[in-house]
């Protein structure tokens, strides 16, 4: 491995976008060197400019982007001023990209094999037959099952994980010197992400190649990278080897970011999540001082000037005036990012609640018809039905949170929509404090609607763009409770305070709010009528890490005050583990495990839970005790599965019994842990070791 000359050297790079008449700098004075054999992690939240940096390195900025200053030296050659036509001899052969969204990055009307072949024919001058053969080999290398069939498939015919494997094969086809990975696993499920990361690690090893891995996910960085650069609002704030940055960050932003990520095993009962107040300044609002100043808890007067990126030693650097104090441990950062205490004092009356459970949903079945054509319905032929939720029962006590975890296609959203009435369930009963809720939304009266509210994943789509925040909140009160006028205004103001926003947001429209602010409003709207049950479907998954923590704390606090039942849905085990009291794990529309949140991280686990836990990239170094990876793909929902739904991918499959017979529920009487498996709890405990090496 040659270590002398960097494959890529970025010097003082400043890139601007034209917005209206002005050129606004998206990244400023970036310095970065990547050597052969090195995997360099570039971490940043949305708006940090990480994708801009990746695209600048490729010299593929759009029409409105321009390199203002600095140089990009690739293998000793200055490429930043090369025109597009000249760059084509670099792209694909010397520098390759694996993008975030594999589906939209593949041409929908060409087979994936053909799309990989193009690279081989172009750069390696392979004749067609040889290229076709080589594609199959490449597909084998990226662990695609049935490589020949995949090569003949169109992108929409294969799963997201398979598409990303195709993209990786395409990027590696011509053995580039520099590989850029731009959030390659962000759109994938956690188990798929884990195996893709394994694959990337394995493929890169021993290659004569430098790698830049762009991500917002610190856990992924720990899994993969040698070195990390932290990007904030277009500036590199810290640059250090992996171990050092995680052991002792020397920039307050890095520290805040690390603290904001809920860690596996953390629970709300033990600690409030740390969070960084405020939000990333917009492009037009980036002043001349320290870029982090407005959110920094240790800012001084001097921070009105811009700190340089100072070298601490040969290996690391920080863009903070106070790095020396940080290095000597003189600033107690631990205290600084702790969320503001119990600021919330909602005077909205808490209703006396009866003995029954806040939410009791029994035997919910949700079915979707697939491709029911006009003629099939005319002929009264029963079309294929997809069972999205198969006989699931859940119960949530007042003041309790049930965390529902599952990957995409697990049926978690279908279950939530069935309970909320948005999709009528095929069967099952839904009771709120014993009061029965009709399965059909239109049959539910105002009272039932008020008692059950929902927070959606995407706040962009959940708020009416033509209504001000105040109108949205007051409308909710009027429609569900008949409250109007001054009383409605007072409650709306109170709620806005409760979600920690200034009162003037009441007069703003959603497009004037940031994503985090919109989600707060969506939450305010759900809680304003003091519902008995709130369903939150992935409420933080579209938000940045530093904003996520604030929202989670907020949900937690509101729920504590209102004492309502919360059904919290997420694919993120650490978040669910943090926020929930009870946890339900769902796979292919069936519950696999039910337990208290505190017991989730201890064996015995359901084998699926075990795989999920093992797949979560940890932000802590060296905490993984074992790795378990799921083989194969999620079965198609139309497939009829006998026995245990998980048998086709279960790493602990016993044998035929799993395929033939539905497993029993194994119950631990003392903890009420329930596992749906042919193994007994004792057997599972015997087989499994703790996944986290934490003192649980």
């Amino acid at each position: 491995m040659e270590q002398e000359r960097a494959v890529l050297e970025v010097k003082d790079l400043t890139v601007a976008y034209r917005i209206g008449e002005r050129w606004l700098e998206a990244i400023r004075d970036i310095n970065l060197s990547i050597f052969c054999g090195q995997i360099y992690g570039l971490v940043g939240e949305s708006g940090s400019g990480k994708t801009t940096l990746a695209m600048s390195i490729l010299n593929y900025l759009g029409q409105n982007g321009r390199i203002l200053k600095g140089s990009i030296v690739f293998d000793g050659e200055e490429i930043s001023q090369y025109p597009k036509e000249k760059m084509r001899s670099f792209w694909g052969s010397k520098i390759a990209l694996v993008p975030q969204n594999p589906l939209s990055s593949l041409n929908p009307t060409l087979t994936v094999g053909e799309q990989v072949q193009e690279v081989l024919r172009l750069h390696l001058k392979m004749p067609e037959a040889a290229a076709r053969k080589r594609v199959v080999e490449l597909f084998e290398q990226v662990r695609l099952a049935e490589p020949q069939r995949v090569a003949r498939s169109y992108p929409h015919q294969i799963s997201g994980g398979m598409q990303q494997r195709v993209m990786i094969a395409m990027a590696l086809a011509a053995s580039p010197r520099l590989l850029l990975l731009d959030e390659p696993t962000t759109s994938l499920d956690v188990t798929t992400q884990a195996s893709i990361l394994d694959l990337i690690k394995e493929l890169i090893q021993g290659q004569d190649m430098a790698v830049l891995y762009v991500t917002h996910n610190l856990g992924v960085v720990v899994e993969l990278c040698h070195r990390v650069a932290v990007l904030y609002a277009g500036e590199l704030v810290e640059d250090a080897p992996l171990e050092e940055i995680f052991r002792q960050p020397l920039h307050p932003y890095t520290f805040g970011l690390l603290k904001s990520v809920p860690k596996l095993g953390q629970n709300k009962k033990e600690q409030v999540l740390s969070s960084i107040p405020g939000q990333i300044p917009a492009l037009a609002q980036r002043g001349s001082g320290c870029i982090f100043q407005s959110r920094c808890p240790i800012a001084l007067d001097i921070c009105a000037e811009r700190p340089p990126l100072e070298s601490i030693d040969a290996k690391r650097s920080s863009r903070c005036f106070r790095w020396q104090e940080l290095l000597r441990g003189e600033i107690p950062l631990e205290k600084l990012f702790e969320a503001e205490g119990e600021a919330l004092q909602a005077s909205i009356p808490v209703q006396q609640k009866s003995e029954a459970a806040a939410l009791d949903a029994q035997g919910i079945i949700v079915e979707f018809e697939s491709h029911a054509s006009l003629f099939e319905s005319l002929a009264r032929r029963s079309s294929r039905k997809v069972k999205a939720v198969k006989d699931v029962s859940i119960r949530i006590e007042a003041g309790d949170t049930l965390g529902l975890v599952g990957e995409s296609g697990s049926g978690k959203t279908s279950l939530a929509r069935a309970i909320s009435g948005l999709n009528e369930p095929e069967a099952g009963s839904i009771r709120i404090y014993g009061l029965s809720a009709a399965p059909k939304l239109s049959k539910r009266n105002r009272d039932v609607l008020r008692r059950l509210q929902m927070v959606f994943q995407n706040p962009e789509e959940a708020l009416n763009p033509f209504m001000t925040v105040g109108e949205s909140l007051r409308r909710q009160l009027f429609v569900l409770q008949g409250i109007r006028g001054e009383e409605a205004q007072r409650l709306a103001e109170e709620m806005v305070k409760a979600v920690q926003l200034p009162l003037d947001v009441l007069n703003r429209r959603p497009n004037q709010l940031s994503g985090g602010e919109k989600q707060r409003i969506a939450i305010a709207r759900a809680f304003i009528t003091n519902p008995d049950v709130v369903i939150a479907d992935e409420p933080v998954s579209s938000l940045d890490v530093s904003v996520q923590a604030t929202i989670l704390n907020l949900i937690n606090r509101l729920q504590g005050n209102f004492n309502n039942g919360l059904l919290f849905i997420s694919h993120n085990l650490a978040i669910v583990g943090y926020l929930a009291d009870q946890i339900a794990v769902i796979y292919l529309g069936a519950l696999m495990q039910l337990c208290r949140a505190v017991d989730l991280f201890k064996p015995p686990y359901h084998p699926y839970t075990e795989a999920l836990l093992s797949a979560v990239p940890s932000v802590e170094l060296g905490k993984k005790a074992q790795t378990i990876r799921l083989e194969g793909e999620l079965p198609s929902p139309t497939e009829r599965i006998e026995g245990c739904p998980f048998h086709s991918r279960c790493p602990r499959k016993i044998g035929e019994i799993c395929e033939r017979q539905a497993p029993p529920w194994r119950v631990d009487e003392s903890t009420q842990k329930r596992i749906y498996c042919h193994y007994t709890l004792e057997e599972l405990t015997e087989l499994q070791s703790p996944i986290l090496d934490v003192g649980l």
Partner: protein
């Protein structure tokens, strides 16, 4: 694919059934007493009654409709009230003329329109795009009788390249008719051109934004391969299907152009039938027109399925 096409074909049959009912209702039931329409205001009650009996007008409506539909499907389209001749050969002859004109229009307009649209789309908001867009919009704003007359002035009277009158006979062969088809085809082209070009432009601009174009670029593929192999393959799908759909309009909707050039197509036959209150003729022409529209829609669906694997392989 087969299932998709069967479904589309099913819809086609359904569409035809429903429109045939509407046509039947509009022409046979609404205008009041058909017998009086035929025999005129002075006819005696006895004669009217006899004719009603002969035409089956005293039967229940569904029976009348069923009889009419079965006859139509069997090819018995009846006799024209006004010319007293068999309707079918008349309509089929006009259909042939309309198809000939439609083919010439497509051959002229499609390559030009797609070329202009692609060039405009690839150069979005540059001068060449603006020229194409403004010119095509200016042309589409002009009514056909204006453009038609201008073309006649230039090409028929001044240059004497093509005749001004396109009244071909049923016996005229395609090659003999061709010179007479050029001017009406050019007139229709001017209408169609802007439409197809703008659609193509929009398709190209939309596809250029897609991430797979970035992937193709970043493979290092030459620009022309990125455009021809990757972008156009997707960008032209809507254009091609819209061209297929517009076949229906070309067959029966060119009423103004046919009139300007005195061209014996289906459109003029329809106007003639309305003029003379020739109900059986009108029914036949309308049914053929509807069939044209429905078939061109089916053609569009088939093309769509062939071009887009997401439809084909669902």
């Amino acid at each position: 694919m087969v299932k998709y096409l069967l479904r589309r074909f099913g819809f086609l049959i359904l569409t035809l059934l429903i429109t045939s009912m509407v046509i039947f209702a509009a022409t046979q039931l609404l205008p009041g007493d058909v017998a009086r329409v035929i025999l005129g205001r002075e006819a005696g009650e006895a004669a009217l009654q006899a004719l009603r009996e002969e035409l089956g007008l005293n039967d229940p409506v569904p029976v009348q409709y069923g009889r009419w539909l079965v006859n139509f499907v069997r090819g018995d389209w009846g006799k024209s009230y006004s010319t007293k001749s068999e309707i079918r050969p008349l309509v089929i002859g006009r259909l042939r003329n309309s198809l000939m004109l439609a083919v010439v229009i497509l051959v002229i307009s499609v390559p030009v329109a797609i070329f202009l649209g692609v060039v405009a789309g690839l150069n979005e908001n540059k001068w060449i795009d603006n020229v194409v867009s403004i010119a095509s919009l200016a042309v589409v704003g002009l009514p056909e009788f204006v453009t038609g007359l201008v073309l006649i002035q230039i090409f028929a009277f001044r240059l004497r390249w093509f005749p001004a009158n396109s009244s071909i006979r049923p016996t005229t062969s395609f090659l003999e008719a061709l010179p007479m088809l050029i001017l009406p085809a050019l007139t229709a082209t001017l209408v169609l051109l802007a439409y197809i070009a703008r659609l193509t432009r929009a398709g190209v601009i939309e596809e250029l934004k897609q991430q797979y174009v970035r992937t193709a670029d970043l493979k290092g593929l030459p620009y022309r391969v990125v455009i021809f192999k990757h972008v156009l393959r997707n960008a032209l799908i809507p254009t091609i299907t819209v061209i297929a759909i517009s076949m229906g309009w070309l067959i029966s909707g060119l009423i103004v152009i046919e009139n300007v050039f005195n061209y014996p197509g289906l459109g003029r036959l329809m106007v003639f039938a309305i003029d003379r209150r020739d109900l059986p003729l009108l029914q036949a022409v309308t049914m053929v027109a509807v069939l044209g529209f429905a078939l061109s829609n089916l053609l569009a669906d088939i093309l769509y399925a062939i071009l887009d694997p997401r439809i084909r392989l669902g």
